[in-house]
């Protein structure tokens, strides 16, 4: 049976190798010292972890590379097997991508709007958007949930915990 290929794992492995090299290069550029006499310097731990990240990344990358080669070999040996998609592991599911975009984009917008609108207002708007676009059928429910959460957060964080939240245009 042909081995399954996980391209995402391969890319992550490659990313880990690039990160390891970057850690090393930044360390060199900022002149971090690896060893000072008999004492480990500021670069000692980062370089050790970079080596670990690089090795693990290489392992993930190399393993998938081998799987890819094996799969190609198996395919040429067995010409009947023309279903190439079957050997690939599907990384992204539609629902996950949608959730990812809704959650991350809404969160970023909350941060961007926190200063001009005020944190509580931007958070309330963000929660309404998230509730709606994550799958709540009605706008009414989403708005009620958002306003309810906003009031609860105000009571807990502003009044009870006295957290100085950014207040925007409306002073809330």
């Amino acid at each position: 049976m042909p081995k399954k290929i996980n391209k995402a794992e391969m890319i992550f492995g490659l990313g880990a190798i690039v990160l390891a090299i970057t850690i090393f290069l930044i360390g060199q550029k900022t002149k971090l010292i690896f060893f000072r006499g008999t004492t480990p310097g500021a670069a000692f731990m980062p370089y050790l972890t970079a080596a670990g990240i690089g090795l693990c990344g290489f392992w993930l990358f190399f393993k998938q590379l081998l799987n890819m080669r094996q799969s190609k070999k198996d395919k040429t040996n067995d010409k009947k097997d023309n279903n190439t998609e079957e050997n690939k592991i599907k990384f992204f599911k539609k629902q996950d991508i949608k959730n990812f975009i809704v959650v991350i984009v809404s969160s970023i917008l909350i941060v961007i709007l926190a200063n001009p609108l005020g944190f509580l207002i931007s958070l309330t708007l963000g929660i309404i958007a998230m509730a709606k676009f994550l799958g709540t059928p009605s706008w009414r429910t989403s708005i009620l949930v958002g306003i309810g959460s906003g009031i609860s957060f105000y009571l807990i964080f502003d009044l009870f915990l006295k957290v100085p939240l950014p207040r925007g245009l409306f002073g809330i």
Partner: protein, 514 residues
Amino acid sequence: MDLLHNLYLGFSILLDNPLAIMYAIVGVLAGVIIGALPGLGPSMGIAVLLPLTYGMQPVTGIIMLAGVYYGAMYGGSISAVLINTPGDSAAVMTTLDGYPLAVQGQAGKALGIAAYASVIGGTVCVVVFMLVAPIIANFAVAFGPAEYFSLMILGLTSIAGMTGKSPVKGFLSAFLGLFVATIGLDLVTGGQRYTLGAIQLFEGIDFIPVAMGLFGIAEIITVKNASSDINVDQSSIKIKNLFPNKQEWKYCAPHIFRGTILGFIIGLLPGAGATIAAFLSYDLAKRTSKRSDLFGKGAIEGVAAPECANNAASMGAMVPMFTLGIPGSGATAVMMGALMMFGLTPGPAFFRNNADFAWGLIASMYVGNVCLLILGILGLPIFIKVLKVKAPILNAVVMGFILIGSYSLNNSLFNVGLTIFFGALGYVMKKLEIPAAPMVLAIVLGAMTEKSLRQAMMLADGNIGTMLGKPIVIVVLLLALGLAFGTPIINAIKRARKSSSAKKADRQSDVARA
């Protein structure tokens, strides 16, 4: 006598501070609700509720978080029994017999025994915790930097090697965490490391945004919008139906006893955790039960065995955290981070230097377990209602809580940005089956690991051989290697044996044919 005196001290601290008891109840209640929601586990619960403890006294804050921890361990069983979906991985085994019982109209009985078994497992283990923890702490008092470093390595390697499907991915996660922990000003020279000139990074990256992102946001993105239609026979969850009868107790008692001991021992091992404890306890119960044929079809002892073991394991996991400063799981890593946030450093000297705190916490565990029993039974109708709340609404509210919580840490929007970044990274890691717990643990332990390593190297004049040559260090490092690579090595040997025996059999059949 000392023990009883200390316990008395703990209870008197607790009684002097009625707010602490109230927070224990709040923690247990919140924990049960979070644990009951599919996909949300104790690690996420503790990380998300951490901001609520910012203004509290340390003992009150930790009492609440401990309540969340063991509340969530029980909460997982509610959705496991009612909708055949475990609230967290530790409740997976509970579905096997819990759901069939619910289908047979005995949901109340299954939930009742889950609550009793959890409380018995938890309470018995608090007693054992009380007996064992000071002994381990006294033994570890003489540890130097090299021994500490080896202990940190034990914690990191075992959690990296034992969580997730591949040790390489676990180690990658741990290394990433160790790197994140090095960002900021250097401990010795005070120079900048990987801050890229950003002032916000001078103090380093706190573990809270990372834990909230990896455990919280990543879970929300990947959570299934599963239907939460619960068809429960309301009469089966009436209070009188939640009490198992004499015969059922007879079936369950030996399994609860064995599961509690097994769970505690497994909880002590860094990285092993409640899921493995529940799995092994179920397996042991199935093998030793006289009704083993009923397992998987609705055996009540099949619910009791994993439930007592996962709560026992959660207590066991607190022993290495408090006595050695090594958290054994994602949830205890977050708790340890919280302790450090309050200015307390877990380790051998913890019981001696913070006796009031430690014994107050132990006393609260007894109170918390009683609360768990009462709330677990009386609160069932509320928990069922919460389970009916649609996932999008719940996720949006939890996201709001995560974002405002991460802001409250330092009143900084930079932290909110970090939480979002780690949420996105956590999603990718989750999809690639790279466990998040080693990364969080590495961030919590990172600074201490580096400090111990550098001190030990200085004391050994830069000679690694001298540093690692101490007997305790050798034993601990060997244990770390065993825990990290034991399973893959055993699996490889098994595979090799299987293939060689298959080849032998082929050869023999060829010879026979010839």
